[in-house]
Symmetry: C2
Subunit: 443 residues, 2 copies
């Protein structure tokens, strides 16, 4: 029972509405008084001055990197990576990755994110999948691949697919992640495409497919770097180069897509590749501003990501929606582009489409998984109340999320985590940081 159910489906917004959940699924949605008559004996979560929204979907991040949040900022890209981020990352053990992923997962879920798509180094013993599984988050976990470690990569991918793809009744899925066109040579790129096709050949439902998750066209220099590294021609654009390799398919999530040629846009469209737009990271690293308004007009699926806490420095999807909506208005000088409803679509149903998951998540309607968040409105910054979409995108703060339900299970109740020991994770994260800094200084 809530002031409004924002379904993001053909059901629209239902004022004084209610959602009925049985096990992991939504079985009914409607006016609260009717629902109360139809289901008199169901346990009730009161949300009178609240709105209920589908859980938010973060389609590009690197969750373990939350351990490096605020370690280095405001530096030129190469100095930042080579002198700061990579040296510290090189000290991380698989357990550190697991702790970082736990930290990020509890941050994300408390801020209303129910599904993440994370690209990072996978290890069989401790990994991001274990962390999100324990927290109760839904997500796609990858192993990130580089030309310099092909043998290692295939071993990790095999383990990831075998042990995690489909785990927890498909709450957890796997991704094959070529890092980027400038770190994965063309031959290896094709091998990773074939690997995914092999995994996906017997998939029946959309969500049974592994995702092919890659960074694309993030910086202006990328095409030149690929040309230099692999002695190839990338004169028509980075996406077009991948298209010509034949590696782009509808299972592909292309993160960033900042610097695109018209041929790139055409290639995205032809292949039904999904874009993960990361406006905060793209600004913070001074990569540029992706022309998402153009992509949306071309009917390309554009979803939203936070990127890692190193370049954001949060996994806050409310902030991401707002900045995505504002930025396109500012650069196009048109206040009507990316209206609030569109921004919320990008963070919900379009995010679900991006992960080939829209048969199960992304909206509140009967038959879908019960992934939803309850937002409190009884706050000065959310008064008065006129319009759901405006409030959710332009005024709600991520910390206004009161309850989070994933797969029908209450993960956050009145701002408190129900699944893992938050205090322990916070302490452990500080300890790991201290240990990493010590290791670095003793080098």
């Amino acid at each position: 029972m809530a002031k409004s159910i924002v379904t993001m489906s053909r059901l629209g917004n239902i004022r004084n509405g209610a959602v009925v959940i049985e096990n992991d699924k939504i079985i009914d949605v409607g006016k609260a008084d009717e629902i109360k008559r139809k289901y008199p004996r169901y346990e009730l979560i009161k949300a009178l001055d609240c709105i209920i929204v589908p859980g938010l979907i973060n389609t590009h991040t690197h969750i373990a990197m939350s351990l490096l949040r605020g370690y280095a900022d405001d530096l030129p890209l190469h100095e930042w990576l080579e002198k700061w981020i990579w040296p510290l990352e090189s000290k991380m053990t698989s357990r550190d990755i697991y702790i970082g992923a736990l930290l990020a997962s509890i941050e994300a879920v408390k801020m209303g994110t129910t599904t993440i798509n994370s690209m990072y180094h996978y290890f069989p013993d401790y990994n991001e999948a274990k962390a999100i599984s324990e927290v109760g988050l839904r997500g796609v976990i990858s192993h990130v691949c580089f030309s310099w470690r092909k043998e290692h990569d295939f071993k990790q991918l095999d383990d990831l697919i075998k042990n995690w793809h489909g785990k927890n009744d498909w709450r957890i899925r796997a991704a094959i992640s070529p890092h980027a066109p400038y770190t994965v040579d063309p031959k290896y790129m094709v091998e990773l495409r074939n690997y995914a096709d092999e995994v996906n050949k017997e998939a029946v439902h959309d969500y049974e497919k592994a995702i092919w998750h890659i960074h694309v066209a993030e910086t202006r220099e990328e095409a030149k770097i690929i040309e230099k590294n692999f002695n190839v021609k990338v004169d028509e654009g980075v996406v077009k180069y991948l298209y010509d390799l034949g590696v782009l398919k509808e299972d592909t999530v292309a993160a960033h897509c900042v610097w695109l040629t018209d041929k790139d846009i055409d290639a995205l469209k032809r292949t039904n590749v999904k874009v993960a737009h990361n406006p905060i990271s793209n600004l913070k690293l001074a990569s540029g501003i992706s022309p998402i308004n153009k992509l949306i007009n071309e009917k390309i699926v554009v979803s939203l990501g936070t990127d890692s806490a190193c370049s954001n420095n949060l996994l806050d999807m409310f902030e991401t929606m707002k900045i995505a909506a504002l930025l396109q208005k500012g650069v196009t000088l048109d206040p009507t582009v990316i209206p609030a409803k569109k921004a919320l679509e990008m963070a919900t149903i379009e995010g679900a489409k991006a992960l080939n998951w829209s048969s199960q998540i992304g909206s509140i309607e009967p038959g879908k998984k019960a992934d939803l968040i309850i937002i409190e409105l009884n706050k000065p910054h959310l008064k008065p109340f006129y319009n759901e979409f405006s409030h959710i995108v332009y005024a709600v703060r991520s910390l206004d999320v009161r309850d989070v339900i994933i797969d029908g299970k209450i993960i956050v109740e009145n701002h408190q985590l129900k699944t893992v020991d938050e205090e322990w994770i916070l302490k452990e994260a500080e300890k790991v940081k201290d240990k990493l800094i010590e290791k670095l200084s003793s080098d």
Copy 2:
């Protein structure tokens, strides 16, 4: 006692520090153990896993407009103003303005803002000054002037100056606000300059001066509109036009400054006019992006504002700092511009300079007014902790502000307002909204 005192003064950041407050003033700042020895009998506010920061200063807003938060968004500017905002505003009584200002004040203070500079219509009975006075906020309240109501304006200004300028031991000051160069004709503009000079002629301290608060160069079309409205030449820029009128002085807060010529920048510099940068509003209304990095390089004081909740839709200065820092990086393609520390300066000490108030506020140091905020760090999104500035600008959420002290008085304690009845204000705001909508529909 806190993990770190971020003083924004020559004292730097003091890890394991403490601040000593007596009445309305800071009397000492230092290491917590020394402070405890020196002042054994003082009452202690525990803030062990917290950082203490100067209260944030919002140098451009229209607080009463919080009543219209989310009423209309994503529309072309003129349709938005003429069909939506102005018709609803025309129904507002002075008491409605007071309720809106109360709502905005409690929103702002709970999010860590301790000083505001608000431009709105003043009425003697109910007004924004009464609201901020009751909440305990520090601020500058104006009456906004238009050519079409000169006589009314001077009456209101006289009342405002007489009753509020210097009130509450100078916690409240007044501003003369010509609305904008396209709504105030050149003759009236000069009269309003002379009016301010008359008010300010006997001021001894910086904060005894009334502020001259004006919108300048917000949209690309502004110069042309001024030329059309007043049959004048504005071919060298809007600021230069005001400079040639002789109305710009160091008491001037120029809000927006998005579209500037080199001559405009030179005029800002010569006159020591202070800029109030409103990045969120400028994006949302698609006005454009102010070249603040250039202004800062020219040593012009650039402070931060939220603008009203109609075009933002919040008064969240944490969000404003982050977007100000990110946006300049994204448009200059240089990740080193507006580093985190600079963004926090803009929201604290530069904000104080913008309001001619830096002798009393904007930093934590002995002798200054005790305006400070305590931020909790014991949250997933603020772990681990490396760097104060990075956390404050890129990771802290406005709702992480636990306590707010203004003029030595605790206004917010553990997220609870101590000065006014929050529940009553929230209900009243909804009632006023319902009444306004009803008035409109019965037109």
